[in-house]
């Protein structure tokens, strides 16, 4: 297809999809086979690299937070992948530890490995650092930052409940895509307790250098938390309109007119 090289180059600029790859017989050119293999390898490593909890706890402490490690009931990654239910449950001994440190607090922040420890290693501390001044300005009472291993989003419900926090923010490695192995998600849930549904959360996704920057993510989290604490809810009825807000520390928006749709 060499004659059409310029046309393909222009078409390829119109989409992130892998088009105009050329071919070798029925197969892909070597370059493309290797590129795909590298992207898949990075996504796989993101899933299977263990969370470096010690280093993370140190960096969190350096920011001036207190920090606590916990684990879910999934003992290892293979179990974690097969049994999402275990990743949503707190290890029994950790429940007692959290109960000892219970608030009341306005917010519990949980940093969880989820499906990409890499996303956490690269993005969680920058989000936390960017969020700190917002929390100080607002005067929110923050619980110790909890670092959770083999964790699903809903583990935050158990943690937030045990700590007696009004809301929980779970910073968690998202399911890695072929071109986004480093994507962090932030899930905010008002009134955390075991049994909350995903429709009762707000999500800030694609937090990474090439996506939503940690500074922007912290800004959104601050906006959503302000609204959540004011309105007493999160979820489908709370729409993220932070992009329309010029300054941080917004007034809570009026309740949306549309009824929420189930997730």
């Amino acid at each position: 297809m060499s004659d059409n090289g310029p046309i393909w180059a222009r078409l390829a600029g119109l989409t992130p999809a892998r088009i105009g790859l050329g071919r070798a017989g029925s197969g892909m050119p070597t370059r493309e086979v290797l590129r795909f293999g590298l992207d898949h390898a990075q996504a796989r490593d993101a899933v299977h690299t263990p969370l470096d909890a010690d280093e993370l706890l140190g960096k969190i402490t350096d920011l001036g937070f207190t920090a606590l490690p916990v684990a879910s009931q999934a003992p290892d990654r293979a179990t974690y992948l097969r049994r999402p239910d275990l990743g949503r449950r707190l290890a029994a001994e950790d429940y007692a530890v959290l109960k000892d440190r219970a608030g009341p607090f306005d917010l519990a922040i949980v940093i969880a490995d989820g499906l990409s420890a890499r996303a956490v290693h690269e993005n969680a501390v920058p989000v936390l650092a960017a969020f700190k001044p917002y929390a100080e300005t607002a005067g929110w009472a923050l619980s110790p930052v909890v670092v959770a291993r083999q964790a699903r989003v809903a583990l935050g419900d158990a943690i937030g409940g045990a700590l007696d926090a009004r809301a929980v923010a779970v910073l968690i490695g998202e399911r890695p895509g072929l071109s986004s192995p480093d994507s962090l998600g932030i899930y905010l849930t008002f009134g955390p307790r075991v049994g909350r549904s995903d429709a009762e959360r707000n999500c800030i996704s694609n937090v990474r250098a090439a996506g939503l920057t940690p500074d922007r993510a912290a800004f959104k989290l601050n906006w959503l938390l302000g609204c959540a604490l004011h309105l007493g809810l999160t979820g489908v009825t709370l729409k993220d309109e932070s992009d329309r807000v010029a300054i941080a520390g917004c007034e809570a928006p009026p309740l949306p007119e549309r009824p929420g749709t189930p997730a």
């Binding site: 297809m1 059409n4 078409l11 999809a17 088009i19 892909m28 493309e32 796989r44 399911r175 890695p176």
Partner: protein, 459 residues
């Protein structure tokens, strides 16, 4: 009624038919997650021995979900063809496997309306992969809309030109890429990022324009919720195929926001448009093992049997295309390449045995223990099994849905090694526009007229 099987000093007991079928299922993570899987390898094997002795008539007489409680059960029993079943009603599951291995294509077509999903699932559980392939290969399910899908010796491809923001130029570029690689005879089908009727309408117009401009003998589909497609049809938008994800229980379908009557309404609306010159198969369904469990709607039944029940839902609407999205749902349902490969072959077999035009989205996610080599294996096996169609995704990387499927190149590979042709009308079109030679092989550099005839993409 309890079932029993004795192995040496041990008696294995199974509480009922649902438990027996679940324990007889080749092990997979989703059945373990549901708590219905066999607890030892011996129990798994014993359940197969026991299941092999169950008469087909008994399976028909003992619905896994009561008639009163589930509209899919009612549909299965109310539409059952007793005449077709008469030919096999005296058989046990084990006998049935042997009959299938020796049956002709004509026999398989004749008995298909008598085969319930539970019967198909039961026999599949005692079949090896090679049995699933050799029987499916003999099943003929031919459907028509703007071309003819499913003829012996053919394999079709859905061209899947998804874009993360539904950008029309990006989608068009991916469509041209697929056409230039000889793909798109099953359907050109977009998974939209948006679900507004306005956005869906724009995509429907785009697809209709591409198909008209190049006079392509294929059909278009925007894979949005059936209610959105109904609204689009009411607005007079060009809808070829109505899409919907479906599952094998009433409750799971409710979680998708669909009922049988809603599907019937959409089917009738699409039929009334009469847009298919070759035939009136105008529905497109997607399914996948694990969807009922993830909706907490599995009734203690194994995920493979529930998947076969979804094909019973599809069957009554005479669809053009049905595909299982076999590795999409994640490792908590199908853990690794071995489980995905087995499930893909089972789904294809059950669908074909029931007379449904089954294709397979040969795919995986990055947290499953699978890679391109596993997909090559399943793809090749499905080619041997006479799979109706596969997906064609640029470079196998779906940038909208974030998973890996099969590429346009993969279909070229399969055609080359197995000698599989495209839908005949599409094959002829490719030749007429000069993209392929008389043998259906792509001609290097021949895509220029196709590319330069896309006015919206002018530099």
């Amino acid at each position: 009624m309890a079932y029993r099987h004795v192995v040496g000093p041990r008696t294995h007991a199974f509480a009922d038919l649902a438990a027996l079928m679940a324990k007889a299922t080749p092990i997979r993570s989703g059945d373990r997650l549901a708590g219905v899987a066999a607890e030892s390898a011996e129990e798994n094997a014993a359940a197969r021995w026991c299941l092999a002795e169950v008469p087909l008539a008994e399976i028909l007489a003992r619905p896994l979900i009561p008639y009163e409680r589930d509209d899919v059960t009612r549909l299965i029993l109310d539409t059952h063809d007793a005449g077709a079943f008469a030919e096999i009603r005296h058989l046990t599951v084990g006998d049935f496997r042997e009959v299938l291995l020796t049956a002709s294509s004509e026999t398989l077509a004749r008995i298909a309306p008598g085969i319930t999903p539970e019967i198909a699932a039961a026999v599949s559980k005692i079949m090896r992969n090679q049995d699933l392939i050799s029987v499916a290969r003999k099943c003929r399910v031919v459907t028509r809309f703007r071309n003819t899908i499913g003829l012996p010796g053919t394999l079709a491809v859905r061209l899947q030109p998804n874009h993360p923001t539904d950008d029309p130029k990006g989608i068009t570029a991916a469509i041209l890429d697929g056409l230039a690689l000889g793909c798109g005879d099953a359907v050109i089908g977009i998974n939209p990022a948006s679900d507004s009727v306005q956005a869906i309408g724009d995509l429907l117009q785009l697809l209709d324009a591409v198909i008209r401009r190049h006079a392509i003998p294929t059909q278009a589909c925007v894979l949005t919720h059936v209610t959105t497609t109904l609204a689009a049809m009411e607005q007079g938008l060009p809808v070829d195929l109505v899409f919907q994800s479906i599952a094998g229980t009433e409750k799971a379908n409710a979680s998708f926001g669909v009922t049988l009557s809603l599907l019937k309404e959409a089917h009738e609306a699409a039929l009334a448009l009469k847009r298919g010159p070759r035939g009136d198969n105008c529905m497109y369904f997607e399914t996948g093992q694990g969807s009922a469990l993830s909706a907490d709607a599995h009734h203690g039944i194994d995920q493979q049997t529930l998947e076969a029940r979804a094909y019973a839902v599809a069957r009554v609407f005479r669809p053009l295309l049905v595909n299982t999205v076999v590795g999409f749902i994640g490792p908590e349902y199908l853990y690794d390449g071995k489980e995905i490969i087995r499930a893909g072959l089972e789904d294809h077999f059950c669908g074909k045995l029931m007379g449904v035009p089954l294709g397979v989205d040969v795919c995986y996610t990055n947290h499953a223990e699978a890679d391109q080599d596993d997909m090559d294996t399943l793809l090749t096996l499905l080619g041997a099994a006479g799979c109706t169609y596969i997906m064609g995704v640029p470079g196998a990387d779906d940038v909208m849905l974030n998973y890996q499927s099969t590429s346009f190149h993969d279909s070229l590979y399969l055609r080359e090694v197995l000698g599989l042709k495209r839908a005949p009308e599409f094959e002829m079109w490719l030749q007429e526009i000069g993209l392929t030679d008389g043998a259906g092989a792509l001609i290097q550099g021949a895509e220029t007229p196709l590319l330069t005839a896309a006015p919206d993409l002018a530099a």
